[in-house]
Symmetry: C3
Subunit: 268 residues, 3 copies
């Protein structure tokens, strides 16, 4: 199986599907082509969220603001999964989630003379994903050979790494950051729900302050009336600022990168 993810919208991903169909009979599954545009960190967040749901696969994921510069291309081995994309850090957070207790291994190559300097999804990464997929099962000696069969691929420790920012957690709260805003307008932060004294539906605090304003802390959107603001622990495990049947990003005035301060102590 090969999965495809990008920020290309439409119709560019179709060119990648064609390139793959010419080179492999692998089942191809689109993850999404609406990753946050040219946002390496946002892409890393979503890929870390969704790729672990898949069985072992080759994941071709291209959010690539540096396309056409001299950034390299990488294949990352993570457990039984392989990730293919640009060397800009976007693949490392999902790779760590996929690799479990092991460290991901990064193989890197220099992109020489692609057909275009603006569409490496078609010209570099889709062909590489097909090549890797047609090799031996990932995680075996044979697949290492297959990786080496890509021009100039060698394991490296000098790749671009990325770690999603950690919040500052205190007994009574946390200072965090909005990582992404989803299609529903939910502003998803980097503060894990596990930092709460208890989950909302198991005796946790009934409310929380967000940047000084008190908001219900509930286990589900339906815990407040339509149009009302709320904080909940989303399906990714992080605190998010939402509105039931509305847009949290607008109601809280939050966008990716914005700081957000939560307080759950009684002092507000």
């Amino acid at each position: 199986m090969i999965t495809l993810a990008s920020d290309f919208g439409s119709p560019y991903p179709a060119a990648m599907r064609g390139v793959l169909a010419r080179r492999t009979d692998a089942r191809v599954v689109d993850v999404t082509h609406d990753l946050p545009r040219q946002d390496v960190r946002g892409a890393a967040f979503w890929l870390r969220f969704v790729l672990p749901e898949f069985p072992p696969a080759v994941h071709c994921a291209v959010v690539d603001p540096g396309v056409g510069t001299d950034r390299d291309a990488v294949v990352v081995r993570a457990g039984d999964h392989l990730l293919v994309g640009p060397d800009n850090g976007s693949l490392l957070p999902p790779a760590r989630a996929l690799a479990g207790d092991d460290d991901p291994e990064v193989f890197e190559w220099r992109v020489e003379d692609p057909a275009s300097s603006t569409f490496h999804g078609r010209d570099v990464f889709a062909p590489a994903a097909a090549a890797v997929h047609e090799g031996a099962p990932p995680g075996t000696a044979e697949s290492a050979e297959n990786l080496l069969a890509l021009d100039q691929v060698a394991r490296t420790d000098e790749f671009v790494d990325l770690t999603l920012p950690e919040p500052t957690v205190r007994e009574s709260g946390a200072d965090g950051e909005v990582l992404v805003v989803d299609d529903f307008g939910n502003a998803i932060t980097n503060v894990p729900g596990t930092t709460l004294p208890a989950p909302p539906d198991e005796g946790g605090p009934g409310s929380i302050t967000v940047d000084g304003e008190r908001v219900p802390l509930v286990s589900t959107f339906a815990g407040v009336d339509p149009g009302e603001r709320l904080v909940t622990v989303g399906s990714h495990g992080y605190l998010e600022c939402d509105v039931n049947r509305g847009r949290g990003d607008e109601a809280f005035d939050l966008e990716p990168g914005a700081s957000v301060t939560f307080r759950w102590g009684t002092s507000g």
Copy 2:
């Protein structure tokens, strides 16, 4: 075959595709993930329109404004099709269309401790769809057993039902309602084209009044000039208020739920 439909936009449906790929080799076909957001009735309209085009399949369809409340989950058997989703009525109009002369049978279970209280598409319905699919062909004794293998699944008559609203039809017209607005801006009503004295291309009236204003009644968009308003019978069989190469919802000031009065009598 398993089909997927939701109002999740992107990238949440990818998590459902991953869950399915881990559990079954079934062919997975996306219906759409842009169903009208949190609109149970709109979802029912579109599912009733599109699912009958498919061969026998398991249809996993999740438009679920009550996620995280104590609403139950259902599997609906409808002819050779099975539908899986929340117990909110959205599956019943398509199930009746799929079941033909028979009544759909509803099997229901209580959702216990899912991994999240906000993403049952991933945590409840996709796994249930895979489980049902891996059973015997729908409609056989074996598939009934397989349904029962889901925790606490039993046939019920106490499910949430939904019937799309019927128009009031008179000899000279009909009082109806807009059910959905499609991507093109066509405002689709609940008034069947069969209520017209004759189809527009077979001697039917050449015009119709919409809320008191006379508009051409034509068999195709191209029956009026670009930018002009029209009423036609859409591919779903209902009267819709459109603009050739424009947006009918804006030109007629209509949105889902809006009342609309058609008159085809000479008295206007």
Copy 3:
């Protein structure tokens, strides 16, 4: 393999997927359903760009502003590919790209009494694509027979043709036209990059004037600072007016059909 392309957005394409799934086990790959709406020329541009990436396939492509009029339906044989869609010219530019040195052959039939006069994607073209696919491999005598098995299909020379407009090229520049604006806001013209005295990364001019204003001519978006305007040769081979991490159509005030004058001579 059958590919699907349209300007239908969502959820109409699902009906086409269902129709295909009922009639064939062929692998179905969505190209895109966000082709420029009711823009035959824009559709032709994108189809010519993306279909040549695919292996031999039946391509069902429906951008059809004339649906419901008496326009005919066509199957176009182009090399080892077959294209199915309305007789409005949209299939000819991609067919010529797919046919290589040969001429495409056009087979035409009159659409009689379809189930709807507004959704021929479901009622005419998807069934025809399935029928053609279930025939012999394209390009053989058997497939010609299969084509003839469609009602009233016969080769014709009286189809609607379409040629994308050619620019006027001078030694010091070119007068062209914007053909499409992509999802990123890049305004893509009909001026081939090969008209430049040399490519931007091989000693070509470092700047170019667009409608009299001087703009950097670079080989990649990253060649200018974020927010800055640029001209580059896109992955389709044509000059496009872009903004690094922004929208070129807005910054240059260009839309499909707009004239654009490039000058690369020193006289500006």
